[in-house]
């Protein structure tokens, strides 16, 4: 058994297991920690698939920055209480899980019909594609072929930053009509 196959079979169950654990975990902080585990396993898969640059980005940006942001917000809001088990929407849980399993099965069938379960990519991927280094090859594609989209993302990030400032600033403002009705309803 090749090393990469071994790595896959070790990490794939961890990945799926941590994902399931995240979904069924009632406590938000615990769910977030399981998600971090899952992101790490995905990072490992990137490494196996010949994408060391994305491995690094995944670890730093996702598992690092984004998840810290999540945890920060959870703590800030103090919503780390357990979620009640009672489901108010009738049939939501059963139908949801059924459809989830359904879409998974459909995707697997589609993968089988599309490329089969035995296809491997080109054997010399690292030499032919990554060449002298994945980061260098990726940046060549990014800055030549995808230069304009790359620049657009910078605009996107600035807009997002401005949006957060706007959303986060506390301003006195009038309440909406729906809120007014709600308040009246509470008073009655």
């Amino acid at each position: 058994m090749a090393v990469d196959t071994l790595v896959f079979w070790v990490f794939a169950p961890i990945s799926v297991g941590s994902a399931i654990a995240m979904v069924i975990q009632r406590n938000a902080v615990h769910a977030a920690l399981f998600l971090v585990v899952n992101f790490f396993t995905i990072a490992v898969f990137y490494l196996v698939l010949g994408a060391p640059f994305l491995f690094a980005v995944q670890v730093i940006v996702y598992a690092g920055a984004i998840m810290v942001l999540f945890l920060f917000v959870i703590m800030l809001l103090g919503v780390d209480r357990d979620e009640p088990l009672l489901e108010r929407l009738k049939g939501q849980r059963v139908i949801g899980i059924t459809l989830g399993v359904g879409i998974a099965l459909e995707l697997v069938v589609a993968i089988r019909a599309g490329i089969g379960f035995a296809t491997t990519g080109p054997a010399n991927f690292d030499e032919a594609v990554n060449g002298s280094g994945n980061a260098e090859a990726l940046s060549a594609v990014l800055f030549r072929q995808y230069f304009f989209p790359f620049e657009v993302t910078s605009v996107l990030l600035i807009v997002a930053a401005i949006a957060v400032v706007v959303l986060a600033s506390r301003q006195r403002r009038s309440i909406t009509r729906a809120e007014a009705e709600r308040l009246r309803g509470d008073a009655a």
């Binding site: 929407l89 939501q92 459809l99 989830g100 359904g102 879409i103 459909e106 589609a110 019909a113």
Partner: protein, 628 residues
């Protein structure tokens, strides 16, 4: 000068544009600007006239092709203006008389707060009228035709806060529309028949049109459709009902549009298209009958009116009837001479009536006037000149014009027409002397003292009076063969004088004697005080009713059109209420019912929506996989 022809209508258009957008700020200057622009157009027209006169008589045509207006397949119409003896005569009347009336209106409209708008409409009217008479094809003529109708509507309803003015404006617009619709059909038929709308091609001498000549039936239909338009615009039977009501407009408007220029457009149209009418023959007879009947009908109706402006309105209709009568006899020069002279003296009469209204605080009922010559001596002179001219007293303009037409009738071989025309001429003298004597002579029937109009209003009247006195001699003196007639001959052809059953001198004598007799009778009845004319309605209520209501034509139309129309409208209303509104309300109710069901699905839970989203995705994938 030919390439400056477009400038003639462009000048008043510029004035109208400026005053429509800036009239409020111009104030009193608006009137002066408007007058100056029309006067400039007149000066330009005179220059073009001199240009035409310098050419040989047969070549007197100037065409100014400004730009291609529209083109679709074989259909092509240019904005092109045409100056020939006929159109330049009309142009000179429109701009010349128009300028004098504008000048008068400066004084007359002095106290009106919307004077800028008034002059904007007046200039716009002059523009459209010039487009009408200068157009080189039927479609451009039609544009001017509709444009003057619009301006007529706007100006009759100028004092729109008076309900009577507003409804009179509507009546004028709708009634003339009937004729206009027929005229548009006629123009379409002209295009189908000739493949062109240009005067040069349509009205080319017979035989110039290539190959097969259309049947005379086609010409009859075209001519009658054009005549319907002319009858509507010129207020002839049976589309005349709008003209008396149109007197609701300011008096300068009545003088310019409803006496001197617009209402004569019908005569111009028929003369312009005389080639078509002659090819038909039948159509000319119809023109003759319509004109003669209208002349006598309107003369009778005028005698029954006590409103000074309405009396003048019927007199206008009667005079235009005489023009149609002349056209029907192929005596186009005579019709044009009457048109020009009529423009002079009718404008004079209307504007003098305006003086009276001005002096008596808008009193129009002649029963409350009388003896005004003491207060308004100058106006009395003007009205006297105008009335005697219309009555046909030599040597005033009306004598030459009317006498020629009646005399021509004697030579045409239609004795009955001559007889009726003579009767009509006699009644003309009677009906026009009546307002003269009722208003200016006889016993005073008002406590008010009229004040004479200011010099600004008298000056244009003096010029018009001069034209009325001298115009006939200059333009129509038979000894020279008639200067206007000679000038017009290249366009309309020479009139064919037949043998009269009386000598010229005898005919003239009959005319003059009858005219003088009519004036004398009028004086005896309405001014001498020996006849109790005020008792006439009570002694002869039937006859007085027929005369003052103009033979109840309005009532007849009410029965024929108004009442069935109202009934039809009621039916339509109920259809609208039950069927159309019913359908709409039903749909609204069903939507309402449906919207009471929808909230059961739309509960506001995001997760429910997400579930639906996923269901769709799963189903779509299943569908794609199943298909292949």
């Amino acid at each position: 000068m030919g390439d400056l022809l477009w400038l003639v209508p462009a000048l008043p258009l510029a004035g109208a544009t400026v005053m429509l957008f800036g009239g409020g700020r111009l104030g009193r200057a608006a009137g002066w600007i408007a007058t100056a622009l029309v006067a400039a157009a007149f000066a330009l027209a005179v220059a073009i006239l001199l240009d035409l006169l310098s050419m040989p008589a047969e070549a007197r045509v100037l065409v100014d092709d400004v730009y291609e207006w529209m083109a679709a397949g074989a259909f092509s119409v240019d904005v092109a203006f045409r100056a020939d003896p006929l159109s330049i005569t009309m142009t000179l009347v429109v701009t010349g008389v128009g300028a004098l009336i504008h000048l008068y209106a400066i004084g007359y409209m002095e106290h009106d707060p919307r004077v800028g708008r008034f002059f904007a409409y007046m200039n716009l009217f002059v523009f459209f009228m010039l487009v009408l008479v200068l157009a080189d094809n039927y479609l451009l003529l039609y544009l001017g035709w509709e444009g003057v109708g619009l301006c007529s509507y706007l100006l009759i309803g100028f004092w729109f806060d008076r309900p009577s003015a507003a409804s009179a404006a509507k009546k004028a617009f709708v009634t003339t529309r009937i004729g206009d619709a027929a005229m548009l059909l006629g123009i379409a038929l002209i295009f189908i028949t000739f493949g062109s709308l240009d005067f040069g091609e349509v009205l080319a001498p017979l035989g110039a049109a290539d190959g097969a000549t259309p049947s005379s039936g086609t010409f009859t239909v075209i001519s009658l459709l054009l005549l319907a338009g002319a009858v509507g615009k010129s207020a002839q039977l049976p589309l005349h009902v709008w003209l008396p009501d149109a007197m609701e407009g300011p008096t300068p408007v009545s003088a310019l549009i409803h006496a001197a220029t617009m209402v004569t457009a019908g005569v111009y149209l028929v003369i312009r298209s005389h080639v078509l009418f002659e090819l038909s023959g039948t159509a000319l007879t119809v023109v003759l009958v319509v004109g003669l009947l209208g002349a006598i009908y309107a003369a009778l109706a005028s005698i029954g009116q006590f409103d000074i402006k309405r009396a003048l309105a019927y007199s206008t209709m009667s005079q235009i009837g005489f023009m149609f009568f002349a056209v029907g006899m192929r005596f186009y020069e005579g019709a044009m001479l009457l048109l020009v002279c009529h423009a002079f003296y009718k404008a004079l009469l209307f504007l003098t009536a305006g003086n009276v209204l001005h002096g008596l605080d808008d009193e129009t009922d002649m029963r409350r006037m009388g003896g005004l010559r003491a207060d308004m001596p100058i106006s009395a002179v003007w009205f006297g000149i105008g009335a005697l001219s219309l009555a046909g007293i030599p040597p005033l303009a009306g004598f030459f014009a009317k006498d020629e037409i009646v005399g021509f009738a004697a030579t045409s071989g239609r004795e009955i027409a001559w007889l009726l025309a003579t009767v009509g001429a006699f009644m003309s003298a009677l009906y026009i002397s009546r307002p003269l004597f009722l208003a200016f002579f006889g016993r005073r029937r008002t406590e008010r003292t009229a004040h004479e109009a200011p010099w600004l209003m008298q000056a244009p009247l003096a010029l018009l009076a001069l034209l009325t006195v001298g115009g006939g001699i200059v333009l129509g003196l038979q000894a020279e063969g008639g200067r206007l007639a000679t000038f017009l001959e290249p366009v309309v052809g020479a009139a064919e004088h037949g043998e009269a059953f009386l000598s010229d001198a005898g005919l003239i004598a009959i005319s003059v004697v009858l005219a003088v007799a009519a004036v004398a009778i009028a004086y005896w009845i309405w001014a001498s005080g020996r006849v109790d004319w005020q008792a006439f309605p009570s002694r002869q209520p039937e006859l007085a009713g027929w005369l003052s209501n103009a033979f109840y034509v309005n009532t007849l139309y009410a029965w024929l059109v108004q009442h069935p129309g109202k009934g039809f409208a009621h039916v339509l209303t109920s259809v609208d209420d039950r069927v159309i509104d019913g359908a709409v309300n039903e749909v609204a109710e069903d939507v309402g019912k449906a919207s009471r069901i929808a909230p059961r699905i739309q509960r506001g839970f995001v997760r429910t929506y997400a579930l639906g989203f996923l269901l769709g995705a799963v189903a779509l994938l299943l569908f794609l996989g199943w298909r292949g």
